[in-house]
Symmetry: C2
Subunit: 193 residues, 2 copies
DNA sequence: TCGTTTATGTCAGCCATGTTGACTTATTTT
DNA sequence: AAAATAAGTCAACATGGCTGACATAAACGA
């Protein structure tokens, strides 16, 4: 990457009354903890790089990030209803419908009517869907595992607590519920949050 | 939010040879640590909710997330070059150009030729830009501060280390450099980049 | 039983923001 | 003087959000 602030210009403002740069006064409300500003940017960079590797794989399949999110949650929480997915993704039915239809048409996800309420469409990954989901998850899980190692022993609990409390308070209960409703991955335990 | 897995259907597959659901076998490669899968989802939820409040403010100004990102980095790192911004955002010059032009035209950002290399356009927030940036940052900083409190004392260092190591290794140096090149927020010191 | 609500699907169109490719201008470097 | 670099711009296109309107099937309530 290129250097930043190679030259902080101290040149003349030369722009009428309005648009002066104000390059040397505080850029945010005074008194903000530096750590908060750092974490804001780190969260951006972390997320940016977290999704870039799956993107490359998805492109080969003609899919995008939206497909990844849908496939991920269906794979990890089989039996999810369409309404659940809408709550999770916080997008409209129409937006979801577009990508879900493609995943169903191409055999990555199947839908079955709910046993008790036959209006519901419960979503399940097919073998093909599980394979792609696993492929997409590989680099992401690896990156998280390494980052946890690099961050040291106690980090995982702190990170989990932090991220959990970054979730909007009104959604925490459902996130907790969702995380607790996971198909066992390898016989591991599944204690509530 | 709605319940999840209200009924895991055990109904008959009823779909020819291909698309069987496979609802009860592990959804990811066996042996993956549950914490890694949890953090994957928490990162999604945390980021989802981290950007939703600014989105509402931006909408009032006729701006979107792309404008937020540009304004944020220009505000916090005044004197940034266009090339730096491209490295940070990892988007194309044309994509950046579109939103940057709007921010300049509407008086949120000004550009000045570099003092040493006059081809460079150094970017600075105007007073108006700083005001909007601060307004956008408010809820985000507050959310992070609360999450850190909720996560307990030592969390901030762990979270910072974790997020830093989530950044692609080849970009870590520039992220470090960027974080160190910050305009003091409240009269703090400003060690050279 | 019948009317209403609910869960889902779908059509049509719009907007924001990402992409590629080609090209221009100003400036610095060689 | 020529080449490389920083930036800006035009055109066209793709993805994935959005709204509004409407259809269907199933469940529910009076």
């Amino acid at each position: 990457m290129a250097d930043i602030n190679d030259q902080i210009s101290s040149a003349e403002p030369k722009k009428g009354g309005e648009n002066r740069p104000d390059s040397r006064s505080p850029a945010a409300p005074p008194g903000v903890e530096p750590i908060l500003l750092e974490l804001t940017e780190l969260l951006f960079f972390a997320y940016r790089d977290f999704i870039c590797e799956p993107d490359a794989i998805l492109a080969e399949f003609g899919f995008g990030r939206a497909h990844h999110r849908v496939l991920h949650f269906v794979n990890r929480h089989p039996g999810l209803r369409v309404a659940d997915l809408l709550d999770i993704l916080k997008i409209t039915k129409q937006s979801l419908g577009r990508v879900l239809k493609q995943l169903v048409d191409e055999g990555y996800i199947v839908q079955r009517a709910g046993k008790e309420d036959r209006r519901e469409r419960l979503l399940y990954p097919t073998e093909r869907g599980k394979t792609l989901a696993a492929q997409l998850a590989r680099s992401q899980l690896h990156r998280i595992a390494e980052a946890l190692e690099d961050a040291g022993a106690g980090a995982s609990q702190s990170v989990r607590d932090f991220l959990y409390h970054m979730v909007a308070p009104e959604d925490r209960a459902s996130v907790t519920h969702l995380l607790a409703s996971v198909t066992p991955q390898s016989g591991g335990d599944r204690s509530g949050s």
